[in-house]
């Protein structure tokens, strides 16, 4: 079953065309990792999926619904698309628990008690059961990002977007976040991850997209992309990453 249907996606900022025509379908339960050089349009591609960026042209459908910033039901459509950001973007004025419960209470009209019970379950899942009452400022980067994942999951989304979720982390915290993502993938979550963690992409992805210059320059299974890259650009990129 197709979860996300992207066709003819273009996005420009002023005269600067970032995405130059992307067509791509994502199946339900599929884990897609997006790799590519910085400035290639990976993040913009991801942000178009939940309409944080409005496409200049082309359409994006999630479960058959067109994602459009000006659509009346855009808030409801976004409820089904969780997003995790590079900079975590936890709400600093709310406790960890309230970060997680605010959306279910406001959007799903969930009772406070039920929302808190769900939130505590989610915190246990990401290994932070003891941090429910902490404020975000007291958490490490890795803990913040796990809370951010729990916050997104609280809306029971059918699709999760990860925008370089480990890029702002100290190296020793990358693993704990990737573990949570790996677990999520194993549970069958549909995921699109923009990442620089090639090991993670190789291990967890069903499919890897190599975006370069605003188009999908190459795509395939991790084995195809990492084991047998076709284009020179992808070979060059993988070499550059391997040297780093």
């Amino acid at each position: 079953m197709i979860k996300v249907e992207i066709s003819g996606l273009h996005k420009s900022f002023g005269d600067n065309e970032i995405l130059k025509g992307i067509d791509c379908n994502i199946e339900t339960g599929e884990v897609v990792c997006v790799i590519g050089p910085s400035g290639s349009g990976k993040s913009t591609f991801l942000r178009c999926i939940n309409c944080l960026e409005q496409p200049t042209s082309g359409t994006i459908k999630v479960d058959g619904h067109v994602m459009d910033e000006n659509a009346k039901n855009i808030d409801e459509l976004r409820e089904d698309v969780g997003m995790v950001f590079q900079q975590f973007n936890l709400f600093p004025h709310l406790s960890v628990l309230n970060n997680i419960t605010i959306a279910p209470i406001l959007r799903k009209k969930m009772g406070k008690e039920e929302a808190e019970r769900t939130a505590r379950d989610l915190l246990a899942r990401v290994g932070l059961a003891d941090k429910a009452d902490a404020m975000p400022r007291s958490l490490s980067g890795g803990q913040k990002q796990r809370v951010a994942i729990a916050r997104a999951l609280a809306m029971k989304p059918g699709l999760m977007l990860f925008d370089e979720p480990t890029s702002a982390l100290d190296p020793e915290m990358v693993g704990e976040v990737l573990d949570v993502m790996r677990q999520l993938a194993e549970e069958g979550m549909t995921m699109v991850c923009v990442t620089h963690e090639m090991g993670f992409a190789r291990q967890v992805a069903d499919r890897v997209l190599f975006i370069d210059g605003g188009v999908i320059a190459e795509e395939g299974t991790p084995n195809e992309i990492f084991g047998n890259p076709q284009s020179e650009r992808l070979q060059g990129f993988l070499n550059a990453v391997a040297e780093a």
């Binding site: 808030d75 969780g82 916050r151 809306m155």
Partner: protein, 217 residues
Amino acid sequence: MSFFELLSQSLPLLMQGLSLTLELAAVSLAIAMVLGIIASLMGMSKNPVFRAINRAFVAIIRGTPLLVQGFFIYFGITGVLGVRMSAFTAGVIALSLNAGGYMSEIFRGGIQAVDPGQTEAARSLGLSKSQTTWRIVIPQAIRICIPSVVNQWCITIKDTSIISVLGFAELTKIGQQIIARTFRSFEVWIMVGILYFVVIYLLTVLAHVVERKVSLD
């Protein structure tokens, strides 16, 4: 007359003046806060007419002296419209418009200083625009604004002394009256100065406590 005689004679009068000063400042600042919020929302509105109104308002307030604004309201407007207005009312209008203009910019700055990532995170969870504004952005903007708002409060409290020329007996005016009787400029201005200082010092201490209490760092 010894200093202490002067003090014991003057203090009751000065305290009366101070209470009028505080009344004037409190009423004006309360109105200015509401005005500032409305004006800042207009300044950030999608509607270009609202934005233009806000820009003109802020430009006029910033571009003209408070004293001129006060005279214009008390003598200019009342003359043209043929209405009567107490000096206190005119003072409140002038001070609240004046402080409201500056508050408008403070609030706008505070709201725009909230990390755009906060709005993105809230919208990505499905929160509506207004839920995002009131639950996520405003609570953080308020914290950012506190120091500047307190600063404006201090300025407005002291600006009541300027507006006293419209003719009501707040602290500075009472000081002048006492000096006219006693010719003790040096001591009386020190007393007046200390009273302003104490009020503002207490306010800033209180603000500091609040600021620390709600701090997110």
